[in-house]
């Protein structure tokens, strides 16, 4: 229902901790917020190459989680329309300019017999200046 808004066009940037990689802001394709234990996956494919979940972290309103932690996180939520930061590591620093960013979100929604969520893919331009979230 909000698939086309998953990948935010703004604030695609390099990591600010000196490691190679970047940060992309993402929104949940759903009409309400959800407890994080029901966010099953936020999968990233960068320039055609899948980034393993183990090389990504997920930040909502300043709280950072690994994807191993999310299934047990029942005291925090991804709010409706909230821009979460999906930080990822790569082998080499990101090159300046455009990148192909595809994100797939899988949600466990209790009233649905099949997984919820959605996917989006956009061409994003790396912000020239690295900024903190």
């Amino acid at each position: 229902m909000f698939d086309q808004y998953i990948v935010c066009e703004e604030n695609f940037r390099a990591r600010d901790d000196g490691r190679p990689g970047g940060v992309v802001e993402v929104r949940m394709p759903y009409y309400r917020g959800l407890t994080l234990s029901m966010v099953e996956a936020v999968d990233l494919v960068l320039d055609g190459t899948p980034v393993p979940a183990s090389r990504t972290t997920f930040t909502v309103h300043g709280n950072t989680y690994t994807f191993d932690q999310l299934p047990r996180t029942t005291d925090d939520r991804w709010e409706m329309g909230e821009r979460a930061q999906l930080a990822f590591e790569t082998d080499e620093p990101l090159t300046p300019g455009e990148h192909d960013v595809a994100v797939s979100v899988r949600l466990r929604i209790s009233y649905m017999p099949v997984p919820g969520g959605g996917r989006d893919r956009k061409r994003l331009t790396l912000s020239p200046v690295s900024t903190t979230a």
Partner: protein, 331 residues
């Protein structure tokens, strides 16, 4: 034609503003202000959608909420609860945990001043029964949404009706969703499928079958036999998920009906709903003596957002112009 005397009231579920709220072009306060301006004075809210920090509501938020109601001439009417039976990845919530979840949401409704709580369709009858005494103590009605593809003869609804009639709890009842009265296929949905690459002949087949109120059970299979792809399957599934039933089917359940979710997909320039015949629904509610709220639930945004600007405010305004006409407010 004169409208018989009635006590129906008009309201809006803030679900209706989901596009603008998601994109932060309307704030929660903006939604309430617009509702007041439109004359949709009864506010239905999905706390999990509109209140960051849910399920924790601060006193400041609650104070602000009531100050908005006063400022914009609106009234809190209903909250919508969800039941996350799959909260944990490895186990189902126990019956006790499910009842506790409903009790928590009753508490939230009380803090927000709402007397009605929408129980989502997946709420089991035993959870309704277990939570009813708590709701009754707190002066709140727990109303099961009757949402497509369910209807009043469906076993899932019959199980709920059995609980409601056996316990006789004044706290339990029904909240019909007008998406159970989709007489013809919403064109915003079929047109979106065409833009997404559906095969025109298969779209015609699906829409025609639905509009003829034909047998949709095997539509996905037939679409497959005719070379359909994922977009065609999705549309065929939609056709099995909308239903048309006679609005008079609500009459025998009227004592249980406490709130109406006035689902809509497209209000045309002529201020009529393209697929749901409100001109035959509203008279049934009047005939049944319904005295609660007709609460707008706009759900067209997701079908047009790819190609057109979404204007939920205008869509809701048109629906309320129609309601005012059908309720005889112009007279």
């Amino acid at each position: 034609m004169t409208t018989p005397p009635h006590a129906l009231k008009r309201g809006v579920s803030l679900y209706s503003f989901q596009e603008e709220y998601f994109l932060r072009t309307l704030s929660l306060e903006d939604c309430i202000r617009v509702a007041g301006e439109i004359g949709a004075r009864g506010i239905e809210i999905i706390p999990e959608q509109s209140i960051p920090g849910f399920p924790h509501l601060t006193d400041e938020f609650v104070d602000t909420w009531f100050s908005w109601m006063e400022k914009y001439g609106t009234t809190p009417v209903a909250t919508d609860l969800f039941l996350d039976t799959k909260l944990h990845p490895d186990r189902w919530l126990t019956l006790e945990e499910q009842i506790a979840s409903v009790r928590r949401d009753v508490d939230i409704a009380v803090r927000l001043g709402a007397k009605v709580v929408r129980a989502i369709i997946n709420t089991p009858p035993e959870v309704m029964e277990g939570a009813a005494p708590y709701a009754e103590q707190h002066g709140v009605r727990l109303l099961l949404e009757v949402h497509a593809p369910f209807h009043y003869e469906h076993p899932w609804i019959l199980q709920h009706l059995e609980v409601m009639h056996r316990t006789g709890s004044p706290a339990l009842g029904l909240m019909p969703d007008m998406g159970t009265f989709v007489e013809r296929f919403p064109r915003v949905v079929s047109e979106r499928a065409l833009r997404d690459g559906a095969k025109p002949e298969l779209v015609d087949l699906i829409v025609q079958t639905y509009d003829d109120h034909g047998d949709t059970h095997a539509l996905m299979d037939v679409v497959n036999y005719r070379g359909g792809g994922p977009v065609d399957f999705g549309l065929a599934r939609q056709a099995t998920h909308y239903i048309w039933t006679e609005p008079k089917s609500m009459l025998e359940h009227m004592p249980l009906i406490g709130h109406i979710q006035a689902k809509f997909y497209e209000m045309t320039d002529d201020e009529v709903e393209y697929s749901i015949p409100y001109d035959r629904i509203v008279p049934v509610l009047i005939e049944g003596g319904f005295d609660g709220y007709l609460s707008s639930e706009y759900e067209g945004n997701r079908h047009v957002q790819d190609a057109f600007p979404v204007d939920s405010v205008e869509q809701i305004r048109r629906q309320h112009a129609m309601f005012a006409r059908l309720l005889g407010e112009d007279a």
